[in-house]
């Protein structure tokens, strides 16, 4: 991954930012002379200034609960009685021979050991691994026929974040930040939280890709304080700090004056301004001591198994409350859900880790009137296969899997799409990753075809060249 040295990007940035979104006419005009001169010390337009959406948004923020490693749809939201009938048999020939990551396509079918029940008014099926989340089905649109292109984790996690299995494109959160600017300049607009190891593929998953580096996500720490060195030492007064930063900014802009091409330098200036603003707002935003015991319990923070992810979910609520637009909450970061063997052991652990915290988040958002404006997304980078791996595990399945959304204007209590009888492939109303991204952007008031950025002569958009908004998702 490399998002350094993008010789055109500052110029592109000026073109793109100068007149709002998709300033193609202006950009082609200015492209003619190659670059935009800049006087020493002149200030750039604020890349995080709020920008109007394309249409009225139904969501102000997104909280994406990313079950990393690939949760099994077949054992959570997509019951397949047919698998019980076919248990122990190879897949019927009609399903062909899918090439899987581990070459398990000829293995026998394995039914779920879980018990499924229908919940709520909507009667949506959920397994006994998700008893708390099941209580919220009437707030969800469940996309049961999602599909993606990658077979392995690196590419698939990357695609779920950027629409491409290859590194180098901006993450969805970066596009949102670019498209809408910041709703709270005192906090990062795009925040990433992990709960275990490093996300497979690391920072490229929240990278700004070819967008200016300012739009990259900010990773919070997952032990101790979420952000270190948030406030200066006692010896430095607040006005003194401002004075220091003003000096720094002036010197940086002077240094950068003849380096118009390098957006990293601007991003660094902006990172200091954000750091300064966060100094005031950050400690309060991440301070959970103000939360009641009841609230903490709601998120499962009183139980060791759920405390870490519950803390992240609560942090996410506090962040969106304060205008953060995009929060990504990895559960099982470092491929925790990757149950090639012992899916019972693996998933019972991770479902437990995520059940109460996510349910608590939904309950809490609703109680505070925030669910209407917050789009909560649940899903992994792919699902898992109906045939077994090693007898008690499941392989990667990018052809048919479940993602659900709640709040943020999605239609409550519906299932969209369907997988085949064994849950291998989506067969009705399939939703590709790009469709999902287009739909999330739509909720945020952005037309995925009109959020564009000129890069190397191409007008790039979040969904690359495909993707359609799933209109039925909205109420």
């Amino acid at each position: 991954m490399s998002h350094k040295r993008l010789p055109y990007s500052r110029r592109d940035f000026l073109m793109n930012a100068g007149s709002g979104l998709g300033a193609i006419a202006l950009s082609s005009m200015m492209a003619a002379d190659g670059l935009v001169p800049r006087a020493a010390g002149a200030t750039l337009p604020d890349p995080l200034a709020p920008k109007p959406p394309h249409f009225k948004p139904t969501a102000k923020s997104v909280i994406w609960c990313f079950m990393e490693g690939g949760p099994s749809h077949l054992d959570t939201f997509d019951p397949k009685p047919e698998l019980v009938r076919l248990a122990g048999q190879p897949m019927p020939a009609s399903f062909g021979h899918p090439i899987t990551a581990m070459g398990t396509g000829n293995n026998t079918l394995m039914p779920s050991k879980r018990t499924f029940k229908q919940f709520g008014q909507s009667g949506i099926w959920v397994s006994d691994w998700y008893p708390e989340i099941a209580k919220h089905v009437d707030e969800m649109t469940v996309f049961q026929a999602c599909w993606a292109d990658g077979l392995n984790h690196v590419g698939s996690v990357c695609q779920m974040n950027t629409c491409s299995i290859l590194a180098g494109r901006p993450a969805l959160g970066s596009w949102v930040m670019y498209g809408l600017g910041s709703a709270n300049e005192n906090l990062p607009t795009f925040v990433v939280l992990t709960d275990a190891g490093e996300v497979i593929g690391g920072p490229k998953n929240w990278s700004s890709g070819f967008l200016p580096a300012t739009y990259q996500g900010t990773l919070f720490r997952n032990t101790g304080a979420p952000i270190l060195d948030l406030i200066p030492p006692d010896a430095i007064g607040n006005r003194q700090q401002r004075g220091r930063l003003d000096l720094l900014k002036t010197l940086n802009q002077h240094f950068d004056a003849d380096k118009q091409d390098d957006s990293d330098l601007d991003a660094r200036i902006n990172s200091y301004e954000l750091a300064y603003r966060m100094q005031a707002a950050g400690p309060e935003a991440v301070d959970l001591t103000k939360e009641t015991e009841e609230t903490k319990k709601l998120y499962g923070m009183d139980d060791e198994a759920t405390a870490r992810y519950g803390t992240n979910c609560l942090l996410a609520r506090r962040l969106v409350e304060r205008g953060v637009r995009f929060v990504e909450l990895y559960c099982g970061s470092g491929s925790g859900w990757d149950a090639h063997t012992d899916i019972e052991g693996n998933h019972s652990k991770w479902c437990k880790v995520s059940d109460k915290p996510i349910a608590g988040l939904l309950t809490d958002l609703k109680a505070r009137g925030l669910l209407d404006s917050t789009l909560v997304v649940w899903g992994g980078e792919f699902g898992r296969t109906p045939f077994n791996e090693k007898g008690d595990g499941r392989d990667h399945n990018p052809w048919g899997f479940t993602i659900w959304m709640a709040g943020g204007g999605v239609k409550p209590g519906q299932v969209l799409g369907k997988t085949d009888e064994i849950g291998l492939r989506g067969v009705e109303k399939r939703a590709h990753v790009t469709d999902i991204h287009a739909t999330v952007l739509q909720a945020m008031g952005l037309d995925h075809k009109r959020v564009t950025y000129l890069h190397n002569g191409r007008s790039e958009r979040p969904t690359v060249v495909t993707g359609e908004v799933i209109k039925e998702a909205f109420a």
Binding site: H3, K4, Q216, G224, I227, Q240, R244
Partner: protein, 716 residues
């Protein structure tokens, strides 16, 4: 993709192409670069100015900025080889090994703890770090460097440092509390296979653990064939770091001490024995039956695999006296205490522990069988494989001869010889490309650890081959190759933007300018310490523990802060705890040590800004920096500004900058005075009597902002 694929072709050295602007060409590198540029109708950029060049090459080769004296000397040196003299000086500096050793440690996933949940310290792991630094500083030929790391124990059994070199494989993360030792062994072997594949061959072997590689011609069998070279290895954490004669002398001394303390120690042992037996039984009972059998079996009857299990299990039955003694109660405890005191009376004749290093060796001369594993699972063996190379490159069976006089299989010697062979199409290409990547910010082949299809094609394959061939011909001379790279006109180009060239080649793949680079975290920290006059240039030895920022979770495994002088040593000497990287370095993209890293991320984040802006440690650096400025230039503010500038950037401030800072001083002094109530100001470490403290605090602010500036953290 197949045999014709570029990376598997024999290295072919074609003569440097003829170019139109031959005057620009300093060495053959430039002919290749210029030729590629000319084909696109592009021109290289003019040479960077001297200060920029000196700063660039100083950071690049030593990780530190030039001193003001070095700048002055270079500016004053009008001889035609002035730059070459600088390059020679830098390559000869001990700081060079500290910089380039760090790159190698990224590849070696170097860490000083186990990882997993408890992340215990690995004592003596640091010796591998010292080995790497010394290898670069002494310009060890790369083929030798490779061989030592793969099979130093077999090839140079009498050289302790060659044993420590095998620490390359010993750097695996390890679940030291695992009960399933069969799985634990397999995971270690997987880690070694992946790391060796990525580091030396730039092949993502890992994919082939479970299946034939999807994109590259690496068969699943190849994965296990490579792994089989390591099948009989085990950690050796007791490598004596002194000569055999010294070991003998130590043993003699130790024998005297042992004899004189025999009774005391026997009594102590008797007190501890029941405790240890109980602990051992507890651990034994937790092992699966296969492991229990391997432990209890008659050694003469143990299979090679059982020896492996036995070696892994052994530490579970060894208990430290001091820790065990803590569980003694009542009279036993008193007795033990008394005996400890008696024993202490003999401490003057106790030679103490031998200095030891950690590495890998074969357990004996018979390796257990290696099988292809179904989806990589240790307990799903398929057909057996023998050690072997990447089939597409070399399908022949390796010649494996157990080394004479050693109880070892000789397998790794065969691998070492193959890797370090002039005929191996990958080893030299991979390494010169790594050098290029670090010097120029991007490799000729863009993914230094992935020469496969997904890694992207080299921009200038003829250049890569020319360099690889030249490197081998020179006797794998690393410094010579680096000198050629940094002497090239391509390297000396300005980094200034060129709109016309950018239109043709927006990512600068053809190198029409030198790419501006952000310093790595280690360089930023070292440079800040250096200009502040704080840097302790002590080399080698156990790692140090700098103060952690407030709010950092206490690292599991411990973090006892070192003395102030020790804290100020170069970043490469900071303890690397696998699960808790030193926060400042982590913020600035120091890689995770769970796997080999051939290319660091370069992020720009607010937490980075906070680290340099708000951490108490960085403020202390600024106070020292300001103190140095006061000592060397004060009290005239103008002279102070100039001195600080030259220290930080190697150049003098221009008029705008001077004015800006003067205005800043005037205003900031007032702000500080206004806010000074109830506040202990951060002042320069040197402060002449009668100094205005507000002015002095503003000087600290100014110095700290210089260390935060873009000019400080970027190299043009």
């Amino acid at each position: 993709m197949q045999r014709r694929y570029w990376a598997f072709q024999p290295v072919r050295q074609t003569p440097p192409p003829a170019v139109k602007s031959a005057g620009w060409v300093v060495n053959p590198i430039d002919a290749f670069i210029e030729h590629a540029l000319e084909e696109k109708g592009l021109r290289a950029s003019p040479e960077a100015d001297r200060i920029t060049l000196l700063r660039r090459v100083s950071f690049d080769l030593t990780g530190l900025p030039p001193t003001p004296d070095e700048v002055a000397a270079f500016l004053a040196d009008k001889s035609p080889n002035a730059y070459e003299k600088v390059v020679d000086r830098l390559l000869a500096s001990p700081r060079y090994g500290e910089r380039w050793g760090r790159h190698w440690l990224d590849l070696a996933r170097y860490a000083e703890s186990e990882g997993f949940k408890s992340d215990e310290t690995r004592p003596n792991a640091w010796r591998y770090r010292d080995y790497v630094i010394n290898a670069f500083n002494s310009n060890k030929p790369y083929d030798r460097f490779v061989k030592e790391q793969i099979a130093g124990d077999e090839l140079w059994p009498n050289d302790p440092w060659a044993q420590v070199a095998t620490g390359f494989s010993r750097q695996y993360p390890d679940e030291s509390n695992a009960r399933n030792l069969m799985q634990r062994r397999q995971e270690i072997l997987n880690d070694i296979t992946d790391t060796v594949g990525a580091t030396f061959l730039a092949m993502t072997y890992g994919c082939a653990r479970c299946h034939d590689h999807k994109f590259d011609p690496i068969l699943q069998a190849d994965y296990y064939r490579l792994q089989a070279f390591f099948a009989n290895t085990a950690a050796d954490d007791q490598i004596p770091m002194v000569s055999p004669a010294e070991v003998a002398a130590w043993k003699a001394k130790r024998a005297v001490w042992e004899e004189k303390t025999k009774d005391i120690r026997a009594q102590m042992d008797a007190l501890l024995a029941p405790k240890k037996a109980a602990l051992a039984k507890e651990n034994f009972d937790k092992f699966p039956p296969e492991i229990q059998a391997a432990v209890t079996k008659d050694p003469a009857a143990r299979t090679p695999y059982e020896w492996q299990m036995y070696a892994k299990a052994k530490p579970y039955f060894e208990f430290d006296d001091e820790t065990t003694a803590k569980s003694l109660k009542g009279a036993d405890r008193d007795k033990y205490k008394e005996l400890t005191a008696q024993l202490a009376a003999f401490s003057s004749i106790d030679p103490g522990p031998l200095p030891v290093g950690i590495g890998m060796r074969d357990l004996n001369d018979k390796a257990p069988a290696t099988h292809i594993l179904n989806v990589g699972a240790y307990d799903a063996p398929k057909e057996e494989v023998q050690p072997g190379f990447l089939t597409i490159v070399d399908p022949n069976d390796p010649k494996i001869v157990p080394p004479a006089g050693l109880n070892s299989t000789g397998r790794r010697t065969a691998l070492a010889n193959w890797l370090a062979s002039p005929d191996n199409p990958l080893t030299a290409r991979v390494f010169v490309n790594r050098l290029w990547h670090y010097h120029f910010g991007q490799g000729i082949a863009p993914s230094p650890s992935d020469f496969g299809l997904m890694g992207g094609r080299p921009t200038n394959p003829e250049l890569l081959d020319w360099l690889a061939a030249d490197f081998v011909k020179s006797g794998w001379d690393v410094k010579r190759m680096q000198k050629m790279m940094v002497m090239s006109a391509a390297y000396r180009q300005s980094s200034a933007f060129n709109a016309e060239a950018a239109k043709q080649d927006p990512d600068n793949r053809l190198l029409w300018r030198f790419p501006r680079q952000r310093l790595e975290g280690e360089e930023i920290r070292d440079a800040a310490l250096y200009v502040s006059g704080l840097l302790n240039d002590k080399m080698s030895g156990p790692s140090v523990f700098p103060q952690l920022p407030a709010g950092t979770a206490k690292p599991r495994g411990g973090w006892t802060v070192s003395s102030p002088e020790e804290q100020d040593r170069r970043s490469i000497y900071i303890f690397v705890r696998r699960n808790a990287r030193y926060p400042m370095l982590e913020q600035f993209d120091m890689p995770d040590t769970h796997e080999s890293c051939g290319r660091r991320n370069q992020t720009i984040t607010a937490p980075q800004a906070m680290s340099l802006l708000n951490d108490t440690v960085t403020l202390e650096w600024a106070q020292a920096f300001a103190g140095r400025v006061v000592r060397e230039a004060g009290p005239d503010p103008n002279a102070e500004i100039e001195r600080a500038w030259v220290l930080a950037f190697g150049r003098k401030p221009d008029g705008f900058e001077k004015d800006t800072v003067q205005t800043f001083f005037a205003k900031q002094k007032q702000v500080i005075a206004d806010e000074a109530a109830n506040r202990k100001l951060a002042l320069p470490t040197t402060l002449p009597p009668g100094t205005d403290t507000s002015q002095a605090a503003a000087l600290v602010d100014f110095c700290q902002m210089l260390m935060n500036s873009n000019e400080f953290v970027y190299v043009n």
